[in-house]
């Protein structure tokens, strides 16, 4: 069975994560409850004419995937697998509003065409003329991890030698207003917004595009080996530790082998115990890291964590800004990522140097 290596990364996020070394310019925004991405120079990747027609998520996906492919030094891949929570939500909003506002008359198809969840994966395939395997997963907080499971299976079964895999989501204005209404996003005018010390429900929202080139061989520029991923729909708070132990055991590892644990803390107070129990008990002496104070919360925010863990393994550096506790390790060899949303859609990802 072939092993899976992360050989290229591309990250467009609410932080400056391109043309930088590794989060040295990162800053926590305590003032806003919806964070926007820092846009790259799109014109270096997409012609202005094409760019005008493209949804934000599509553009970010194209740039992030181009960065990942350049980083991996590959010109083409065998498969493209994308994860997205809400897809091109801005175009969905636009088309739906024009249906409702114009009573189903005078509609144009552009926003409908772009509204389908698979637009990002399809546009990347179109640009690269990649006729290979092309899937899009849309399952909330495990959308990206579903794509990873599939990508790893493609490589293990030798159906593909190289896979472009990514997670992408964009903020839509009306949808973020609805999320404030239903409590998914923290209330307006409640700054300062905190993650680790939050006592309120909801999260500070973000958006982003993270793409990776996975290949079946270790190269000079390899970041890490993707050892395993698991997704579990439903787990209780007190089942997490055992689930992690058995996931590690399945990979012949124990908690003491883990050099860093990356958790999805997002300040949604009612569900933070899923993470806190781990940091206070089983992983009390292990470096614990977080990231959603930088990336914001969104369905594929865990792909930002995957990027961060890849960078740590390659650079062997942990930026101060992502540390939850003061534990340190002399070297970072094994990183475990755990994420969930509202006690559902749990994901466990293991990376190895």
């Amino acid at each position: 069975m072939k092993k899976t290596y992360i050989n290229g990364v591309g990250c467009i996020s609410t932080q400056k994560t391109f043309d930088t070394v590794f989060l040295e310019e990162a800053a926590v925004n305590h003032d806003e409850n919806v964070l926007a991405i820092i846009p790259p120079a799109y014109k270096e990747y997409i012609s202005p004419a094409a760019s005008r027609r493209m949804a934000k998520g599509v553009k970010n996906g194209i740039v992030a995937s181009a960065l990942a492919m350049k980083d991996a030094n590959v010109e083409k891949v065998d498969a493209i697998i994308t994860g997205t929570g809400l897809g091109c939500i801005e175009d969905s909003e636009k088309f739906l509003k024009s249906i409702l506002d114009n009573k189903e008359e005078f509609l144009t198809p552009t926003s409908f065409i772009q509204s389908t969840h698979n637009t990002v994966g399809a546009q990347i395939a179109l640009l690269q003329q990649c006729k290979g395997y092309n899937f899009t997963y849309v399952n909330g907080a495990v959308s990206f991890e579903s794509a990873l499971i599939d990508a790893k299976m493609q490589i293990e079964e030798e159906e593909a030698q190289s896979v472009l895999v990514g997670g992408v989501d964009e903020n839509g204005e009306y949808t973020t207003a609805l999320f404030k209404l239903n409590g998914r996003i923290k209330a307006d005018n409640a700054a300062p917004y905190e993650v680790l010390t939050s006592t309120t429900s909801g999260a500070v929202y973000g958006e982003g595009a993270n793409f990776f080139v996975l290949e079946n061989e270790r190269k000079e520029n390899t970041y890490a080996e993707l050892l395993d991923i698991a997704i579990v729909n439903t787990l209780k708070e007190d089942e997490i530790e055992n689930e992690i132990k058995s996931f590690l055991k399945f990979n012949n590892l124990e908690i003491s082998d883990v050099d860093a644990l990356v958790l999805g803390f997002d300040g949604n107070a009612a569900f933070e115990n899923y993470y806190r129990n781990l940091t206070e008990n089983a992983f009390a002496t292990i470096p614990v890291l977080y990231y959603k104070h930088l990336s914001g919360e969104y369905d594929t925010a865990s792909a930002f964590a995957f990027w961060m863990a890849s960078k740590i393994l390659k650079t062997q550096e942990v930026p101060e800004i992502v540390k939850v506790n003061s534990a340190e390790k002399p070297a970072y060899k094994t990183i475990l990522l755990y994420n969930q949303l509202n006690g559902k859609n749990h994901s466990f990802t293991l990376l190895l140097k």
Partner: protein
């Protein structure tokens, strides 16, 4: 030839029936489900659709949901079909083996979103529906109703979504990652899709006519279907009846245009080619092709050319599109057509391609237009979607 992954249960709800049996009898008795739209108020009131003749209230009471539920119509029909499939497979303890759910949808809970979009800020009792817009919410609801706790995910590749869900399920079993997977898809009718396809000018104002020279476009439909796939170990251990097997699958991207298929059907050709490679079957061994056949000018030409490329000088097997019965049910299409393919194998029948009159001038392909009895060992089923997503499944007699 590989043996394929066992199918041990099926469930379906569509405009031609609320169960596997009802769907089968409609197919063999030419009972179509296309009619004028009644469940959605739209200015396009003459639009012909394949509608499930149940209101949301009827679905709620059938599922015995609490009054404070936030099920979209998509989630309700999905749950109904998935429950049938699990029961049909004789599963009583859902988490007994490593069991997953792979669902598929294109618009998820759009039916609720479009109904309440501007009312959320005024009517607090509706706020619960905001969360059901999410594509993954349908799978979430189904998993909850089944009590399934393990791997749950959703695929959205437009009109090929459910084919990809079946493909992923088969791969998860083959690689030993799961013992049992419930696979399928659901899409409810929505103004969003009706208007979307209308602006693309591929909605027919008449009954759809796949592979006819004068075809004018598709009729939309709504449906949900799920199948239970199980490992050979479970089948042997529990002495399960195998309905048929998923013996081949292939996925490729046309990489031509966001909504149109390439003239020569590159994506479709590659998807079929891969499915034959996986199954180890030769094209000549296929007894029936359940074509995607949406009756849009573009799809049928592209699909027909791709089929001609696969068969070259050989005879193309009997083929038909079942979309004149059900309409195009988008992300659910490949799931309901998987059920129809299994039924074709079980009953040794080929369904008629209704509404066909004039062969297309571009090639000599003529669909089967009447019900035909024939020995069916292998069925090939195509599904193609926006974004160039092309998928082929092959089902075989066990």
């Amino acid at each position: 030839m590989t043996k394929g992954v066992a199918i041990t249960g099926m469930g379906i709800i569509s405009s031609i029936g609320n169960s596997v049996e009802e769907n089968y009898y409609s197919l063999i008795e030419n009972k179509i489900g296309i009619s004028r739209i009644t469940n959605i108020s739209t200015v396009h009131e003459d639009v012909k659709v394949g509608e499930i003749k149940k209101t949301n209230d009827e679905l709620i009471s059938e599922l015995q949901l609490n009054p404070d539920n936030n099920f979209s119509r998509t989630a309700m029909i999905g749950t109904l079909a998935a429950k049938q499939a699990v029961e049909d497979a004789g599963i009583t303890s859902i988490n007994e083996f490593r069991t997953g759910l792979i669902s598929a949808t294109s618009v998820g809970g759009m039916d609720m979103t479009e109904k309440h979009y501007y009312d959320y800020f005024e009517q607090p009792e509706l706020v619960k529906y905001i969360a059901c817009h999410d594509g993954g919410d349908v799978a979430e609801k189904i998993a909850e109703q089944l009590g399934l706790k393990g791997m749950v995910t959703t695929i959205s590749t437009a009109c090929s979504s459910a084919a990809n869900a079946i493909m992923l399920g088969a791969r998860l079993i083959k690689t030993g990652k799961l013992d049992r997977v419930i696979v399928g898809g659901a899409d409810a009718m929505s103004k969003f899709t009706i208007n979307g396809f209308k602006t693309l000018m591929i909605l027919s104002d008449d009954y759809n006519q796949p592979f006819d020279n004068n075809r004018k476009g598709l009729n939309l439909g709504e449906a949900a279907a799920f199948l239970v796939l199980e490992s050979d170990e479970i089948v042997a251990k529990q002495n399960k009846k195998v309905l048929a097997r998923v013996s081949g699958y292939g996925n490729a991207n046309d990489a031509f245009h966001q909504t149109a298929s390439s003239e020569n059907g590159d994506g479709a050709f590659l998807a079929m080619k891969k499915a034959f490679e996986v199954s180890g079957l030769k094209p000549s061994q296929i007894d029936y092709i359940n074509v995607h056949g949406t009756a849009t000018p573009n799809n049928d030409l592209s699909e027909g050319r791709a089929i001609k490329r696969i068969y070259q000088d050989e005879t193309v097997p009997d083929f038909s599109s079942t979309k004149p019965f059900t309409g195009h049910t988008l992300a659910a299409a490949a799931a309901i057509e998987a059920v129809y393919s299994v039924l074709a194998i079980q009953h040794n029948v080929i369904y008629p391609n209704l509404n066909f009159k004039t062969p297309m001038e571009e090639f000599d392909l003529k669909p089967q237009t009447t019900l035909k009895n024939a020995t069916i060992e292998h069925v090939l089923s195509n599904s193609f979607g926006f974004g160039g997503n092309c998928s082929t499944l092959i089902f075989s007699k066990s």
